[in-house]
Symmetry: C2
Subunit: 475 residues, 2 copies
């Protein structure tokens, strides 16, 4: 069993550094463990409190008197070694060391302490994440040990990151788009477990369909390349790298004690590893979202279905800019589409329905183009923000409420049906819309794994990545 | 007076094509006119209804018996010429022709009809937007004649667009970021008023600080370049162009009847005109947002203030990637910062406060670096989503409510103070945060014109644009 398996699915958890002081990081983390639905045993270890956040606390780990799978340590730097040693003596073999002040700190002391905890861990056979990290999240056992509440649970995306913020602070961004995450690992200074280990572990996690990495340095390049190459045969890996400039490198040194390298070196390393590089966190999430929910396109020929000219033109432009094509449909296919739409001139690709809100039509057209064999994937623009659309009409035409209710029920149902088309045909669908995932006009799509992007360029880039990964996987 | 002035600030409005049928586009538009706070007179023209949406309707424009500044026509294509002629006879001199089916339609008939309405307009001295457009929005007179309710009113950004969607459908995107818009013009087929006219008009609108254009074609290149060159001496113009690929061009032809040109030609045209080109709508809005709210940086030296290593490193990396610099502070400046933070090693740029939520500190540090003369602008990461942060703690520590209330009041106050620093020092501030504008942790910033971006690359790109425009304006 991979060492991370026990760490990510602990059946019991000892917690150092939580108290009843709400302004302490450890307290916030424990509150999140207790508030996210984790079903394992939780043992706060506290020198003086008998209860922490309403559950019994223990003076020492030795007092727990039951086996413990994982310890999380959110303690002042200087006391971490002793606590870790006590964990080892109590039989704990996995740990998450949140505390900072180790190798990333100025002066020699931090480096010495990091060496010390490595030796202690080694002696006891403890494998650990950190130090200088923010904790873990695993929706599959409802465990959130980070400082941030309400991670968007579910989904098929995993993140392993040398920045805690890029695993936990991004929650509001994820929620606003409707992206869900199933596992995150903040690896911090990587004194023990590093990104290569995370890849090895995530490779065999069946629920994980796409892996994202935030990278300031690769500490074991050969191991990383090996782990990644084997991983990308099974699932895509996307990375962002931000160590490759002078200030990026300087910042990284004081962040995770990482020695960085030039952009080109990392580009080469990622290419060798089969890892796709994204420009930044938003772009990485875009790609992971597409990977997690959509089939890979057999080729680069794309259909564009729209009910508005500007987005249709923008999509066509950006699809071609990304090296994919928007082929003119055959007369036969155009005729089949015309039979549905009655608008022959507007169905040669893009298909422009102009101000049409009938989603059933969208679904029919999508099925026809997928069935034709003339395209390998499709883009759709044309989801109206139905409830939003009506706010001023409602004030003037009260009868409209009834129409709306029928409409809304149909709308949700049609969106669900639409979301099922890609899988049925083994071809990807990417939706463009300016409406966020908070709207019921969009959530039925995002809940069924159809990615929705607010711009044509982002939609097109995600589709290109799907094709690029197919080539990586099959090469 | 520029012809668009009367069109955008009409004191009375005749409305063709609205009825009591909620599924008609004209009805939706009239509902929005009536629901957005417009104070002018509104006269629905309808052949049979005596009331439309609860206000008196008129059989003919001649029956109105009062002067009318503007007519909006949302009618079947074939009846537009006659209606426009009647408007002319009734003394109306400005119009918005929403109806499609003109030059953009297949076959000769549409082109003929477009020629016809041009001649009618000419004969009466009518200046008009469209045909094939979605209407106008002007927050300065609370007029929204588009199909989409709830435009984000206010702000200093104006949009002129050959796509209706890119002026009206983007509302939810704007709201999710906290971006406000003061005027939008959907120009459609540009049978009369075109983008060059819009630039001439917007140049002299004092509330407009930044102009965005969606371009599928430039119909009068020389006039456009002339209008733009004079405009960019006063305010920045950002454009997206999507006609430059084969499918983009094909789609554009059936969208607005536009003949497009290769990307390089348009790049050259924009350069000559002093217009900055953005990749897509999201990027264009990013730049406009920064322009609308922040002073231009005197140079490219940037400070990074953060409470988290990853975003600090990412910002540093992307700032340098954009050709700006993140200079190491002088020992004197570092000492001044250390006196505030007590963390000398972490204040040499980036300034990394590590998990610090004290916004008063952020403000102090920002003032110190701006005052030092060592930087020309600053980036900040570190706004906590305060209410969100507490959800699990609240369940366990009910007393926390009190702390929270004090905190929240202070937080909002500190954010307001922070938002005032750029103007006080004449140097721009760009904030990076994963929290959306819906949160009270962010809205005090966006309401005070500080742009907030969810990624380092977007933040850095917007700052580069501020500097680039300074060079355009001063050259």
């Amino acid at each position: 069993m991979h060492p991370l398996k026990q760490l990510m699915y602990p059946s019991s958890l000892a917690f150092y550094g939580a108290s009843n002081n709400p302004l302490k990081m450890g307290t916030m983390q424990l509150a999140n463990v207790l508030g996210t639905g984790y079903q394992g045993k939780v043992y706060p270890i506290h020198p003086t409190e008998s209860e922490v956040l309403g559950i019994p606390a223990y003076k020492n780990i030795a007092d727990v008197g039951a086996p413990v799978d994982l310890a999380q340590l959110t303690l002042p730097t200087e006391v971490v070694p002793q606590a870790l040693d006590e964990c080892g003596k109590a039989g704990i073999r996995r740990a998450v060391v949140i505390s900072g002040g180790f190798k990333e700190a100025a002066g020699d002391r931090g480096g010495q302490l990091e060496q010390e905890i490595k030796e202690i861990a080694n002696r006891h056979g403890i494998r650990f994440l950190g130090p200088n990290c923010v904790g873990i999240f695993n929706s599959l056992c409802s465990l959130n040990s980070t400082t941030i509440p309400r991670p968007p649970m579910g989904g098929k995306i995993a993140l392993a990151s040398q920045s805690g913020a890029y695993t936990a602070m991004i929650n509001p961004l994820l929620r606003s788009q409707g992206i869900k995450i199933c596992q995150t690992m903040s690896v911090g200074n990587e004194a023990d477990i590093d990104l290569a280990d995370c890849l090895e572990y995530l490779r065999d996690e069946p629920e994980v369909k796409a892996i994202g990495l935030y990278v300031e340095t690769i500490r074991r390049p050969r191991a990383f390349i090996e782990a990644a190459r084997e991983t990308v045969r099974k699932k895509p890996v996307v990375a962002i790298y931000v160590g490759g400039t002078e200030a990026g490198s300087r910042s990284s040194m004081s962040h995770t004690g990482a020695l960085t390298g030039p952009d080109e070196v990392y580009d080469g390393l990622f290419r060798q590893a089969g890892v796709m590089r994204a420009d930044d966190i938003d772009q990485m999430l875009d790609l992971l979202w597409a990977f997690a929910g959509q089939p890979l396109p057999p080729g680069g020929r794309m259909a564009v279905i729209t009910n508005s000219g500007g987005p249709g033109t923008s999509l066509s432009y950006h699809i071609e800019k990304e090296g994919l094509s928007v082929p003119v449909f055959s007369p036969e296919l155009s005729e089949r589409l015309d039979a549905v739409t009655g608008r022959l001139a507007f169905v040669r690709n893009p298909i422009d329905l102009t101000f049409e809100a009938n989603l059933l039509l969208f679904k029919q057209l999508l099925e026809i183009v997928f069935e034709s064999g003339e395209v390998d994937g499709a883009f759709l623009y044309g989801i109206f923000g139905w409830p939003e659309f009506m706010v001023n009409l409602e004030k003037r035409l009260p009868d409209i409420k009834e129409i709306e209710e029928t409409w809304e029920a149909n709308y949700v149902e049609f969106l669900k049906q639409l979301a099922g088309v890609p899988e049925a045909y083994g071809k990807p669908l990417i939706v463009m819309s300016f409406i966020g995932a908070g709207s019921t006009s969009i959530s039925p799509l995002t809940e069924h794994d159809v990615p929705v992007f607010p711009s044509a360029s982002r939609a097109a880039r995600a589709m290109r990545a799907l094709l690029a990964y197919r080539n990586i996987r099959d090469s």
